[in-house]
């Protein structure tokens, strides 16, 4: 337990010491909020769908958590390049604990990023449907964050450099995000897109976020929760399995 705690604490300390990282990771979602929120807001309203900012914010929060959790995998690549990984690999500690401590730390900082985006959204005029329900979004962000940091630990364990890591980001994570219903409602999309979205775990995270923040859901909250739980378990297993075969 102490080992997991100290490795978690390492990530938290590094996060607060790197202001550029905090700001950098907020820039992108903020751009999405402003450009899409204001750019498409009026069309969305004209189409009779209501307030686009309300619809968009839960998706952007999920985006923030998704991408900052993916970035955690890059930290493992840096740890290898700067040699620190060797220090943990010769320590008399199970690989599972090393993986989990770091992933929990990365997940915690990702959720913090999500909260910052939420606060900015409040300033822009977003208002949650019910403040008590809104607290559930912390849970959903936490689950997504831990699932993705476990996944990115696994990726970081066998991808040797940043270029390879970026390729996975480009070809896997960006498509998962854009095809998830985070940015547009899935009601009127072509069937192929709907099917992809329904197989995509990010869709269920976004849906659960909407349920807690604006009180609407497409799949039903229990479907969302089950999908999130399965995603979490599968990705933790993937992360642990890959991390066990890591070579420093």
């Amino acid at each position: 337990m102490k080992v997991i705690y100290i490795l978690w604490l390492r990530q938290i300390k590094r996060y607060f010491r790197s202001r550029s990282r905090i700001v950098g990771a907020i820039g992108q979602p903020l751009l999405f909020l402003l450009a899409l929120g204001y750019g498409l807001g009026s069309i969305y309203k004209a189409a009779g769908q209501g307030n686009y900012l309300q619809f968009l914010v839960p998706g952007i929060m999920a985006q923030t958590v998704l991408f900052s959790s993916m970035f955690y995998g890059a930290m493992i690549i840096f740890d290898r390049q700067f040699g620190f990984l060797k220090e943990t690999m010769v320590a008399p500690v199970g690989r599972f604990k090393i993986m989990l401590g770091g992933a929990l730390g990365g997940a915690t900082t990702s959720v913090m990023q999500g909260i910052i985006v939420f606060l900015i959204a409040l300033l822009l005029g977003f208002h949650p449907y019910n403040w008590v329900m809104a607290l559930f979004s912390l849970l959903f962000m936490g689950i997504l964050a831990l699932a993705i940091t476990s996944f990115s630990s696994g990726i970081g364990s066998f991808v040797q450099d940043m270029q390879g890591f970026q390729a996975i980001n480009q070809f896997l994570v960006f498509p998962l995000y854009f095809l998830s219903g985070a940015l547009y409602p899935l009601n009127h999309v072509p069937t192929w897109l709907r099917i992809i979205a329904e197989l995509n775990p990010i869709s269920y995270t976004v849906d659960a976020m909407r349920w807690s923040l604006i009180g609407t859901t497409r799949f039903g909250i229990w479907h969302d929760v089950i999908a999130l739980a399965i995603t979490l378990v599968v990705l933790i297993i993937f992360g642990v399995f890959r991390f066990r075969h890591i070579e420093p």
């Binding site: 102490k2 080992v3 705690y5 100290i6 490795l7 390492r10 300390k13 590094r14 010491r17 790197s18 700067f82 040699g83 620190f84 990984l85 060797k86 220090e87 943990t88 690999m89 010769v90 320590a91 008399p92 500690v93 040797q160 070579e247 420093p248």
Partner: protein, 262 residues
Amino acid sequence: MIEVSHLTKKFGNFTAVNDISFNVASGEMFALLGPNGAGKSTTIKMLTTLLKPSSGQLTLNGYDVVKQQDLTRKSFGIVFQDPSVDNDLTAFENMQLHAVMYGVSSKELKTRVKELMTLVELWDRKDSLVKTYSGGMKRRLEIARGLLHHPRVLFLDEPTLGLDTQTRNLLWNYVGNLAHEKKMTILFTTHYLEEAEANASRIAIIDHGKLLTIGTSEELMKQTKTQSLEEAYLYLTGKELRDEQADPHEVWRARQRSRTMR
């Protein structure tokens, strides 16, 4: 304290370490010498559980290195060839993290860290981020860290590379004391033969993955009918230059990757 018997490591068709056997006694300072790519680092990686041997038997502090990994890991400290500290943590935090991972009790932690960091003359800089440290300071910190959990064996992989004379002097004095007074077993590699001559009780020379010879520096000179350790070394390993090749493990891995891409 360390028993290596018929140790072999193959990467694909390439044999990085080829049937090496030697023993190191408790409290001994043992030098492993050889040109670049001879198999020194691969041997150390296997002794420190970072790599699994292809065949052979490894025992450290009475533990089977392959089967009793965690007990082995508790028994040794290591200073790697390249820095392995977290630059974004302070020196004290690096020490603390190590202590927790090795199960040093929180009661002992503070006094032990202070004692060791004072010894390597870094205690007054304990709260600085490690990225503000010079190469020599990082190395001193790593030595202090490697000793934190009372290891019985200390591995030093080219510990003096790029260090100034003062730091090298301090390092060897201190390491010598550990061996003589605390009976700690030291296994080190170096390219500076005078360091091996001055500090090692016995020297092993390996090249192309094979153990060429083993003995005190006098024995090596006598054996090769030469006047100095350097002459003996060159007599055994030849004078041609070695390419500063990446470690065979990396080369093998790169080849595996390009194969899966195809």
